[in-house]
């Protein structure tokens, strides 16, 4: 306790400076992590895309909304439209089944959650990374519940095999239907799943996926469809989808197939998606990262300089401590702890934020960009950086402190 008091005494008369530099350091480290997290996420989505799709794929976005769809009384107008498109596409020799995404909203313990429905083929293709459980568990058949993969910190308290309930709303009245779900697995961070909910020009891989921070993944089945029907509900199909050429189709067959789409859809080919993504990655690298890294460097240098300044201000005080029976090692310890605290505090607070990021975003406490990776690597980088900054500050400060012995200080003040 006594030594702790002397450590905090180090900041007396330096409180405001210490607080300001610490706040700046915390903030700058946060910005750097944020920018780096964005960069890593875009690169991550590119990796997913390259792993799951081939140069035979192209992303289709509806070119215009037809009157037919607007007036449609269907509960899933885009689903019906795309099914129709696909039925007509089957006659082409280059046809392979589309990759489509379905989703719906439901209530879980009074909280609105989003769920995605993927086909078995899609799940096999994407090989979603699970932190617990197994995709094999999804094969289990039961008439009492649906096997699901849970995603996000909201479901952390559930164990594999636990059974819970969600409520499906009735589209026509305020009634709901409860359906049982069984936890087959938990999606690993960064909880990224295909959503296909973005249209536009210059589509890149970032646009194709979404972070499912509090949601469920179902496997498509006729039993699930029946349940929706029974409550006058229907999952919605995303208006965009991925089509592909059959691998052994000829050039002319591919041209013909592509021609079918370009009449009614905007089409972005795999190569263009990768090209657009590489541009974004490069832009992010050139625009987003340099400024935070520069600010971080400047702040680090400022922190080290201020540490030296503080030590110079406290040399006299420590010579008085020496007079009163404090040995040099204890002085080094006090100074090291005080200086180290300034460097470590920023790192620790950032780590605390990173570790609780999912909790804060999923509970709506903070609202940040979806496309961020905050994971163990981020924690490690932050910790190592904070330790390095602290170590350098401490070493330089001690070197400055040791330059003058207490006797030299007394003589200086005597004269």
């Amino acid at each position: 306790m006594k030594t702790l008091k002397l450590i905090f005494e180090f900041f007396t008369n330096n409180k405001i400076t210490a607080i300001i530099i610490s706040i700046i350091y915390i903030f700058v480290l946060f910005i750097a992590n944020n920018s780096f997290g964005m960069y890593r996420y875009i690169v991550y989505t590119e990796d997913i895309f390259k792993t799951t799709e081939t140069t035979d794929s192209f992303y289709c976005m509806p070119n215009l909304v037809t009157a037919e769809m607007v007036n449609s009384s269907s509960m899933d107008p885009w689903g019906d439209y795309i099914n129709n498109v696909e039925n007509n596409a089957r006659k082409y020799k280059a046809y392979v089944p589309f990759t489509k995404v379905k989703y719906f909203n439901s209530d879980f313990n009074g909280v609105r959650i989003k769920s995605y429905i993927y086909t078995t083929d899609m799940i096999e293709k994407y090989q979603f990374n699970l932190k617990n459980g197994s995709w094999n568990n999804m094969q289990e058949q039961s008439s009492d519940y649906f096997n699901v993969i849970v995603s996000g910190i909201y479901f952390d308290y559930l164990n594999i095999g636990d059974i819970a309930e969600i409520e499906l709303p009735n589209y026509f009245d305020s009634s709901t239907k409860k359906i049982k779900i069984k936890v087959a697995g938990k999606l690993a961070e960064p909880y990224t799943v295909p959503s296909f909910n973005t249209s536009g020009t210059d589509i890149n891989t970032y646009d194709l996926y979404q972070k499912l921070e509090n949601g469920l993944i179902f496997v498509e089945s006729s039993r699930l469809t029946k349940v929706f029907k029974s409550v006058n509900n229907c999952p919605l199909t995303a208006e965009n989808f991925i089509a592909s050429y059959k691998s052994n189709s000829s050039d002319s067959e591919r041209r013909e197939y592509l021609g079918y789409f370009t009449n009614q859809f905007r089409v972005t080919h795999y190569d263009d998606i990768i090209k657009n993504t590489d541009e974004i990655v490069s832009l992010t690298f050139k625009r987003r990262l340099p400024a935070p890294l520069f600010m971080l460097s400047i702040t680090t240098v400022a922190l080290i300089s201020i540490s030296i300044l503080f030590v110079n201000k406290k040399i006299r005080e420590h010579s008085i401590y020496y007079l009163c029976g404090c040995n040099r090692r204890k002085s080094y310890f006090i100074i090291s702890c005080a200086i180290g605290l300034m460097g470590l505090l920023g790192g620790l607070l950032n780590i605390l934020f990173i570790v609780n990021y999912d909790f804060l975003t999923s509970n709506g406490i903070i609202n940040m960009s979806d496309g961020l990776i905050y994971d163990g690597q981020t924690v490690l980088f932050t910790l190592l950086y904070a330790l390095a900054v602290s170590a350098v500050s401490v070493i330089i400060s001690i070197m400055v402190f040791r330059k003058n012995s207490p006797i030299e200080i007394y003589r200086k003040y005597e004269s």
Binding site: K2, N13, I320, C324, G325, C326, N327, R329, Y410, E414
Partner: protein
């Protein structure tokens, strides 16, 4: 025997030359003595004080404090000795000016095992002994020179030391305050604490029971041993 030195020598390197600040000083001081160490500027009195106060090491010789060979101790043990046995009073008071009087007096207690709850009590006792207990919560820089020196004395005695070393303790004070401070030292000495004052002032030295004169690093006179010294006019 409280203090015993044998051939204590201290040298400083000034460029290529070596300056002998203390030259084979032999000294014996008993418990409870009231000693003045006198000499002109640069004679070696502060050097002697710093060594006796375990603030500095000698280049040669031996130093025993309460029978302990001081030079055989490591930094931690020397600091412990300094904390438990020695109190310092310096010309510039050596207080932490922006901190309260209480904190300054308690400072030695931060470096030993005194329980937290006893620290304040001991500080109050020490301040009472020097007559300024009411200033406990004032900042040191709010006090007069005389009061600050009393605070320094209180800090020096808070741990019940065996000896107080005072280096020109009245150097920054007026004559009235100087007399008051010297009276304080006398009162402390009567309680059994040895007081060793380094001074160039004859009046201050005359207040002490024993006078030791240093010149060019050598002890040239000790009133305990040598009564035939005639001071040069």
């Amino acid at each position: 025997m409280l203090i015993k030195t044998e051939n204590l020598t201290k040298k400083y390197k000034l460029g290529k030359e070596t300056f002998v600040a203390l030259d084979k000083a032999n000294l014996e001081i008993e418990d409870g003595e009231f000693v003045a160490i006198q000499g002109t500027s640069g004679a070696g009195k502060s050097t002697l004080l710093h060594i006796l106060g375990c603030l500095d090491n000698a280049d040669d010789g031996k130093y025993y404090l309460n029978g302990i060979d001081v030079f055989s101790l490591n930094d931690r043990k020397t600091a412990k000795l300094r904390n438990e046995k020695i109190g310092f009073v310096l010309q510039d008071f050596s207080l932490i000016n922006h901190k309260k009087v209480g904190f300054n007096v308690m400072l030695p207690l931060y470096f030993n095992h005194t329980p937290n709850r006893q620290m304040k009590e001991m500080a109050h006792k020490a301040l009472e002994a020097v007559g300024i207990d009411k200033q406990f919560d004032k900042k040191a820089n709010q006090l007069s020179g005389g009061q600050r020196q009393r605070v320094a004395i209180a800090r020096a005695i808070v741990n019940n030391p065996s000896v107080i070393f005072a280096d020109e303790p009245t150097g920054a004070l007026d004559s009235k305050t100087s007399k008051e401070v010297m009276k304080l030292f006398r009162d402390l000495n009567k309680k059994g604490i040895a007081v060793i004052i380094v001074t160039h002032d004859d009046e201050i030295a005359d207040c002490c029971d024993r006078k030791i004169i240093i010149n060019d690093g050598k002890i040239i006179y000790d009133s305990k041993k040598d009564s035939n010294y005639i001071k040069e006019e």
